[in-house]
Chain length 232, copies 2
């Protein structure tokens, strides 16, 4: 166990003052149940805290990176950055699965590789570091950890012209796309437009905005977020 703790500390570039909180972050609920420990001794509480830390750090990252993006866009970028899949991949890199304490049954059931378990454990670890240090320390660790992912092409694309990009992809695949204004709301000086984006007649994105055009952009962005950047 000792050696493993050293290895995770090395990967994170962070030495825990309180090793117990690191152990807690690495304790899956199945271990707690099997060993008749208290439910609150698993890593679930730390996960709750880590999730909030992560949302603030990644939210601030996008807030600063895209000074002209509105709340909806920032929320979506963040949601796509801290989703289970991304956290799972980062968790694998840190080899958290090998370190986690599981119940025997959970190991048999493949717990060491379960996407949600590994994603949750990373959030717990983030919560643990935050408590053991301070906000700026965990912020730097998170930004380093997510660095490569955040700089990948998928996020550059968020600040560009989604409509054009969607159009290009659709044409490449020989698919017909079309925008349909479905609703207008509010007084003249404060109107909101709602638009659907249809691909081959099927609704693939839904957008709102203060102009028709921005609602179309939003619909195209929404379509990408649902279907993936190459309509994956």
């Amino acid at each position: 166990m000792e050696i493993n703790i050293n290895s995770i500390e090395e990967k994170l570039g962070y030495i825990f003052k309180n090793k117990e909180i690191l152990i807690e972050a690495l304790t899956h609920s199945s271990f707690v149940n099997e060993n008749k420990m208290k439910a609150y001794e698993s890593n679930e509480r730390l996960e709750f805290l880590g999730d909030a830390v992560l949302n603030l750090v990644i939210g601030e990252y996008f807030y600063k990176k895209y000074p002209k993006d509105l709340e909806g866009s920032l929320s979506k970028m963040r949601a796509e950055s801290v989703n289970e899949k991304v956290l799972y991949v980062l968790s694998k890199k840190l080899k958290l699965g090998e370190l986690l304490r599981f119940g025997k049954g959970e190991i048999k059931n493949g717990g060491r590789n379960r996407e949600s378990t590994l994603a949750d454990a990373l959030e717990s670890l983030i919560g643990a570091i935050y408590l053991d240090s301070n906000f700026d320390t965990i912020k730097n660790i998170i930004l380093k950890l997510f660095d490569k992912f955040l700089k990948e092409d998928n996020f550059k694309s968020f600040n560009i012209d989604f409509k054009t990009k969607f159009q290009e992809q659709a044409q490449k695949k020989g698919l017909k796309s079309e925008y349909k204004l479905v609703k207008e709301e509010g007084p003249d000086n404060d109107k909101v437009f709602y638009t659907e984006l249809l691909l081959e007649g099927e609704v693939v994105g839904f957008g709102k905005g203060r102009t028709k055009k921005s609602s179309q952009q939003d619909a195209a962005r929404d379509a990408f977020s649902r279907k993936g950047k190459d309509f994956g």
Copy 2:
């Protein structure tokens, strides 16, 4: 305007280094629209950031205050503390409605007293202070601002025996309550129980837990969170 800024700074006990960011936090989207400014010049972006700051600060507060509460309980307590109604009340205390810059149409429509607008503006203000200072500064300001609310009876009650409390309330009103186990999931060493709480035959709460008893507690807590502490 100057005087008003001073008054809000005084109420918060915080002097902005960058007054422009305070102005941004006080700029409603209707003002931006009416004055043909850019959409990103309203307080919506800061609201996005402030929301995340608030979630972390209040989440940490409950995490530390209730060291035996699990994620579900912590999430619910937080959700009830940072909901629109609470933020609106605090926003009124700070008189944010009087300071906000609105479009003329929005003022006519009662914007200065709109619950969602005032709640959002408080989040924007929190985001602005965070950016203008640092995490610890805004954390202290938030905890001071929420202090009275967090210490009110509604939150003491969360750490106690919900089942007993629900039972007492029901008896007082002459209503019959009953728990119904509706599902069991998972292997023997890692079971999850799902329970409904019925009041006079109607489902009023839904709970899950690792034991039958904890799923009943969770259902009672859920019922309180839906119906209010006196079945409001």
